[in-house]
């Protein structure tokens, strides 16, 4: 794999009333493991099922019920770790995080505090071509999701839906390496992209399958560099954690608000209180949820119902050997193999399905650059207009490749090709046949073009004179010939013949 070279982006600087400030952001992303069954029970994870229908006895914490680890969920987490170039811990362990809440039937969440499954890794967050942030991953651990409490169905009662209880989550914890709201959103986007490539999380943020807790602090310019040199957190400001964000837009808005709030306090001589905050998208502000003093004492301790999780290097190697090509590698390959710009390669690799579509077109058409242009400019544009995804594209890769092939052969011009594309998009069919049947084939027969040029010259003596005096006007003749041939004449050939006949 060939790495593309990049530089780190500049940190976001916010000008306060007194000084400039920089942002320091770390994230805990909770990604639901793509798995049909829950982490410790055989119950289904299907979204949108009838409330309390996907609940095993162990999920409801019935007396005497015991958790048994779902091997596939572990495999998915290992795959994720490998995808983030992280260290896989062959021995990890589960701990109980104790707190009372009706949607947490056991009274504790099974998580991995002391010995996570996955150790240090990294995510390369692309900001623009040639600019990317390397964000260090501290750890990934596995844990159970909680259920859902519903407080607005009845004035006097609350309801609990345990369908989500016990679903496997991966908590992906970053180091405080993110330096602005845009980077934060780009980080989540990149993580989501990698997870989707790996098939370990569907990344559906609306359903809550990917959500982030965002830690924000501010510091004076220069302080962050000292932290990076020493890894001593005392160089950084006190952080606040904004919980449970499930939209890229809100993440950016919340960070921006929170940074300005903290700067306001600091510049007024105040101190930041470490606390958990919630973002209110309606008001566009964060507000305190609980302070450090009110923080739960989770009384973590090793879960005695589960033995330490021991996995074998050979198993990890096997998963590693079968990892799909990941976004960074694919992008680099598109640049080198097809000669695409980094920008185009980014667009095409943003989503695995898009990339696969493009590769199919490029392979069949034998021209990556042209294929990229058609996929990005025509197909994506058209799909976007209809609010469709690549999966619902009415144009199959073979059809688009055939269209590109016709242009390459010189059978049709780019302009005609757009018309053919529209026909294929709306009515379907084989582009070559459409061109044949509708008589759209480009005229490259010089005899026919010459005849058409002669006709136009003969009919417009005044224009001939003008053009001979001012060769720039030859274009008018080209236009007339194209019009006469219904756009089918090869523009290059027309140009040449017109120039010759006018004696320019």
């Amino acid at each position: 794999m060939l790495d593309l070279t990049f530089e780190a982006p500049k940190p976001k600087v916010i000008a306060g009333a007194k000084h400039d400030w920089e942002l320091v952001i770390g994230m805990e992303v909770h990604a639901q493991v793509a798995s049909k069954a829950k982490l410790f029970s055989g119950a289904s994870t299907q979204f949108g099922a009838e409330p309390n229908s996907n609940v095993a006895f162990v999920d409801a914490a019935m007396p005497g019920m015991l958790p048994v680890i779902n091997e596939f969920c572990v495999e998915q987490a290992v795959r994720t770790g490998l995808g983030l170039k992280a260290k896989i811990n062959l021995r990890s362990a589960f701990d109980r995080k104790n707190y009372f809440y009706p949607d947490l039937p056991q009274g504790y969440q099974i998580s991995q505090l002391y010995h996570p499954l996955v150790g240090e890794g990294e995510v390369l967050v692309d900001m623009e071509p040639g600019i990317a942030r390397r964000v260090r991953i501290e750890r990934i651990h596995m844990e159970q999701d909680a259920g859902k409490s519903i407080h607005d169905m009845d004035p006097a009662m609350s309801f609990v839906d345990l369908n989500r209880t016990g679903v496997a989550l991966m908590e992906i914890v970053s180091r405080p390496d993110i330096r602005g709201p845009e980077e934060a959103a780009a980080y989540v986007a990149k993580l989501r992209q990698i997870l989707r490539y790996l098939g370990t999380c569907d990344g559906n943020m609306q359903n809550g399958n990917l959500r982030a807790d965002v830690n924000v602090s501010v510091c004076r310019p220069g302080a962050y560099e000292k932290y990076m040199e020493t890894q001593d957190f005392s160089h950084l400001g006190t952080r606040c954690e904004i919980k449970n964000m499930n939209s890229m837009r809100f993440i950016q808005a919340a960070i921006d608000y929170e940074a300005r709030r903290q700067i306001g306090i600091l510049e007024a001589g105040g101190e930041i209180v470490q606390e958990t905050r919630l973002y209110d998208p309606d008001k566009g502000e964060t507000r305190s949820m609980r302070s450090k003093e009110e923080a739960h004492d989770y009384r973590y301790f090793p879960d005695p119902d589960l033995l330490p999780l021991e996995i074998e290097q050979a198993w990890v190697d096997d998963i590693a050997a079968n990892l799909p090509e990941l976004p960074d590698a694919k992008k680099a390959r598109f640049v080198t193999e097809f000669g695409l710009s980094e920008y185009d390669a980014s667009v095409l690799t943003a989503d695995l399905a898009n990339a696969a579509y493009f590769e199919a077109v490029a392979a069949e058409a034998g021209d990556g650059k042209m294929a990229a242009n058609w996929v990005i400019n025509e197909l994506f544009g058209r799909l976007k207009k209809d609010d469709r995804g690549i999966e619902d594209s009415p144009v199959a890769p073979g059809q688009l490749a055939a269209l590109v092939g016709l242009i390459k052969k010189g059978d049709i011009s780019g302009k005609i090709a757009k018309d053919v594309f529209e026909i294929v998009y709306t009515e379907g069919g084989d582009p070559a046949k459409i061109v044949e049947e509708k008589g759209l084939k480009q005229v490259t027969d010089t005899g026919a073009i010459e005849a058409a040029v002669d006709e136009v010259i003969a009919a417009n003596p005044a224009q001939v004179e003008k053009a001979q005096a001012n060769p720039k006007l030859a274009g008018w003749f080209v236009g007339q010939v194209m019009k006469a041939t219904g756009g089918k004449a090869n523009p290059k050939a027309v140009n040449e013949i017109v120039t010759a006949k006018l004696g320019l």
């Binding site: 019935m62 007396p63 005497g64 104790n98 809440y101 039937p105 009274g107 004492d297 009384r299 119902d305």
Partner: protein, 493 residues
């Protein structure tokens, strides 16, 4: 009829096989005995209809020549086991009205082997106690008496012990977290085995302290324990801590031949203020095993003195978390709420009403030792000491010791009501000889070996190597034969 209930499992099995008795007759005899023994408070949920149904099915199986190890044998099941459709409330108010939709692995295995369930047996609430006095049903009573005074049958498996000792059933299940099978067995003159941790599945048994809990048989003799254990144990994929090991034919290993075996006598088990009778019994046991051909060696288990405090940190810590699920939200008791009460009030009132004082005490101790700032000083230190205690035993076994002989309890059964105003730590001292075995995950068995001056039974404990219950049972068998304990309580109930 009452003679039938006095049979051992082995004898009943043979009689059933020969057609000398039917399971229905045996079951009816037990049901009659149970109905006549309400004063013992042993059975807290009787299941006569189910028992007759199971007995009839067993008789059909026997007739068809398809009898299994326990076909037709009537047993009692400790209330800690979840039994499908039958109240299972761990002797706690908080599980009032709870009838599980599932059957615990151990009870299912017993039923699969043909056993008949007579009902559920009394115990200390959530298995927390050594006298059966913390039960919501009221205490069980020891069938053994001194001068008409009611004595404890021990705990937590007090109902199981009383039922077996009073011949209300042929055998019973118990569970043992710190001595809850062995201490009541010793107090009532029966035999009780705590298997190696992981030998029996914990699935479907209400959890007290998950890293210590283990189910085991309580029966009239060593052979019956061997028969029951074989049916109860085995790998269960539903319990991650269950061991994937072959189940040997434990009964076949009872030869009584212990020649060449090495028995360790741990010097640290000689406690200050230990009654002379216990001391004397221990010495007798040593001699019996020696006479049977075993080599006796004095050994040291140096961390023994830390076992009790270690246990009373680890067990409550796990319990505080295991019992968090009893919150009134989904099953069991929920307190009546007042206008304006929210979820916090529901938790507080439900748990205050639902849990008895001993359970509340342990939940609070457990919460405390796990809390921020105290975790390292208590829980983490206790875990480290636990490792040292385990290593003590490993060292002893590595030196060639096959089994370790100790007293089972520091005293004979004590009067009920004695502990009402007492320091709870005094009660915790009952477990002094037994908790080490749970902390180390080893198998341990209590065998009746003598009587005190008042005629009350006394037991000795044998501790075995991990997974070698067969060998341990055989040593216990030799001890049982040498001791020749045949005492039975005089019927007063």
């Amino acid at each position: 009829m009452s003679e039938l209930t006095k049979m051992t499992i082995a004898a009943a099995r043979d009689a059933l096989g020969k057609g000398e008795v039917t399971s229905l007759e045996l079951t009816e005899a037990c049901l009659t005995a149970i109905d006549g023994a309400d004063a013992l408070g042993a059975f807290v949920h009787k299941t006569p209809d189910l028992a007759r149904e199971m007995a009839a099915a067993a008789d059909a199986r026997i007739k068809a020549g398809e009898a299994d190890k326990l076909t037709g044998i009537p047993l009692g099941i400790k209330d800690l086991f979840c039994t499908k459709g039958v109240p299972s409330q761990a002797a706690s108010r908080i599980l009032e009205g709870f009838r599980p939709e599932y059957e615990s692995t151990v009870s299912q295995k017993l039923f699969d082997a043909g056993a008949v369930m007579l009902g559920k047996l009394n115990m200390d609430e959530f298995a927390m106690g050594s006298s059966n006095e913390t039960s919501v049903y009221g205490n069980a009573v020891n069938p053994w008496r001194v001068n008409g005074q009611d004595l404890t049958p021990g705990g937590s498996s007090g109902g199981s012990a009383a039922a077996v000792a009073a011949d209300l059933c042929l055998g019973a299940t118990g569970t043992d977290t710190g001595g809850s099978i062995r201490q009541p067995a010793a107090f009532t003159g029966i035999t009780g085995l705590k298997p190696t941790y992981g030998r029996c599945s914990r699935w479907g048994i209400v959890a007290f302290a998950s890293s210590l809990d283990q189910a085991g048989p309580m029966a009239k003799d060593v052979r019956d324990c061997a028969i029951m254990l074989e049916a109860m144990c085995g790998h269960d994929p539903k319990d991650s801590t269950s061991a994937d090991l072959e189940v040997p034919d434990f009964e076949a290993m009872l030869t009584g031949d212990i020649r060449g075996k090495t028995i360790g006598i741990p010097r640290e088990y000689r406690m200050d203020g230990m009654p002379a009778e216990i001391e004397a019994l221990w010495a007798e046991g040593r001699k019996m095993l020696q006479d049977a051909g075993a080599k006796i060696v004095d050994i040291s288990l140096p961390h023994t003195k830390y076992a009790l405090p270690t246990y009373y940190v680890i067990a409550p810590a796990e319990a505080s978390s295991n019992l968090a699920r009893y919150d009134g939200v989904r099953f069991g008791h929920r307190a009546k709420l007042s206008q304006g009460d929210g979820i916090t009030e529901m938790y507080e009132k439900t748990r205050a009403e639902g849990f008895g004082p001993e359970v509340q005490r342990r939940v609070m101790i457990g919460t405390y030792v796990l809390s921020a700032g105290f975790y390292d000083a208590y829980y983490n230190r206790a875990r480290k000491v636990r490792t040292l205690i385990k290593r003590d035993f490993e060292d002893a076994f590595a030196q060639g010791v096959d089994a370790i002989l100790t007293p089972a309890t520091p005293s004979a059964a004590f009067p009920l009501g004695q502990s009402d105003d007492a320091d709870p730590v005094a009660m915790y001292l009952n477990d002094v000889f037994t908790v080490t075995v749970n902390l180390a995950g080893l198998p341990g068995i209590a065998v009746p070996a003598g009587q005190d001056g008042q005629g009350l039974p006394l037991g000795l404990q044998l501790i075995g190597r991990p997974w070698e219950e067969g060998d341990l049972l055989n040593t216990a068998y030799a001890l049982e034969r040498a001791a020749g304990f045949v005492g039975k309580p005089e019927k007063w109930w």
